[in-house]
Amino acid sequence: MMINIRNSRTRSGEMFEAIASEEHRSLTMVVGMATGDQKQARRSDAPQDTAEARPASNIKERGETLKEDLDRIIDEIDEVLEENAEEFVKNYVQRGGE
């Protein structure tokens, strides 16, 4: 189940070429509108050097860019992640609230 998710990453651009089923055909317009907004928002919000802001010439290149991007984030996470994770997690005990 989880492996499916990991392996079935949808590539951007293919999403709206096929509508899933007849019953959702009528949704194309609304979804398309929403997607348009989304892409526009990404273009203006995302820093210019991210993969989202650059049209990748092919899927492989885009995949590599995404991986580099993620590698950079993981480096950053390594810098900020709490040390002694085992002890930290063990000590994180909360009283019930609400």
Partner: protein, 495 residues
Amino acid sequence: MAIPKILGTETEYGIIGRNDPDFDPISRTLLLINSYQCETPSPSLWDYTQESLRFDPQAMSFDDIYDVPDQLDPLSINKVLLNGARYYLDHAHPEYSTPECTAIRDLVCYEKAGDRILEYSRIAAEQVLTGGQQILLYKNNSDHKGNSYGYHENYLLDRNTPFRLIVEQFTPFIVSRQIFCGAGKVGAENGTAPTVYQISQRADFFETEVGLDTMVKRPLINTRDEPHASREKYRRLHVIIGDANMSEYALYLKLGATALVLAMIEDEFLPRTFTLRDPVATLKGVSRDLTCRKPVQLDDGSTISPIALQWEYWAAAERYCATFSVEPWGLDVLQKWAYVLYHLEQDPLSLARELDWVIKWRLLTSYMNRHGYDWDSAQVTMLDLQYHDIRRDKGLYYVLERSGKVERIVTDAEIDLAVDEPPGDTRAYLRGMCLKKFRQQVFSVNWDSLAFNLDEGNIRRIALDDPLQGTKAQVANAIEGATSAAELLATLSGT
């Protein structure tokens, strides 16, 4: 026609001390609250009295004979903020309740402002701590050891809406909405079926369908009904099932879709009802199905996938929005809701910029692949926890936000504004502005009242039964023109 949506959220934060062997969450929470805006004198009493005085917009009602509310050390456990919010100690957690809002986007700003307020409190509190002691705060709902703390949404509904209808029609929606608003969690708790990762933080903690409790035997539908407003006119629906979101997008969609569904229930607009065979078990099952496709059992023997169930609500909401002149945010919510359901159907991982549970899943699995960790590693649970750390330099959600890796709904400037300015379209405006201008004279506050100490022993209380009274349009001129609370009261009461 459904009443205008008036909504707010309450967030309890997880709290822990570092280099603090005698850490006590209660005293540390009090320190946090008292450290926030402590340069502003005279915090106000929280008015616990339950009087429900009529509010006449033409001539505001006042209560001249007013007893001081009986409460234990109220100065230290409650703070009413300039933005109209309430910041207080709840059991052993700091809790922040947003001011009343009518626009979904505004509420995203005010909830996010709460995270900033807690962060400012933390920084201020640590000024007085010694020996490297620190206070760390988490906007999540579980300690991974079977203890949960809440995140609650509040929606005012028309009192005439039959509660039976709410239970019938709202239950399938909230059981399935986690597919877009779950915050993601490593592992299982509370004696539930084991899993390495699940969609919701809270699902493991719900045990009954309907009830009043929030701490034990938690119900899918909570019956607590304190409207903090006219009881004849309003019911307050206290939604306790949700996860606290880091993602603005997930938060916005959670609030917006829920508000639309409730409006349809009020108007008896939903064409057919789905009855889940076992809603409590379904909640946990949906949380464990990362494909969001596995069919759930309905009472009539048929099955439906969680995504298809959400599409049914979406389709009704689309017709609803086309039929009635809905609130301005309705269409935008409808578009984002469709966008998310469509992509969940195609590939949930394609929403790794929008939904907390997907953002976190991608982060965790990438990190595990890089370092060779498995789901049992303490590092993975640490990542899960630190995703919710509200420090903007250390919290992992904020690392991603800083790098442009998550979709946003509001801007930092708008959140900063919401830290100190009340919303203009509810009674929170009058509350916040009176605290700004006449703080020394504000004697006590509650959601539905404001009392002023005009001079020695003369306390006058305004009842604010209607959350849509006291707005900027109604009272801004009166507040601006008044040089004292007495003058303001005279203007407002028309004397």
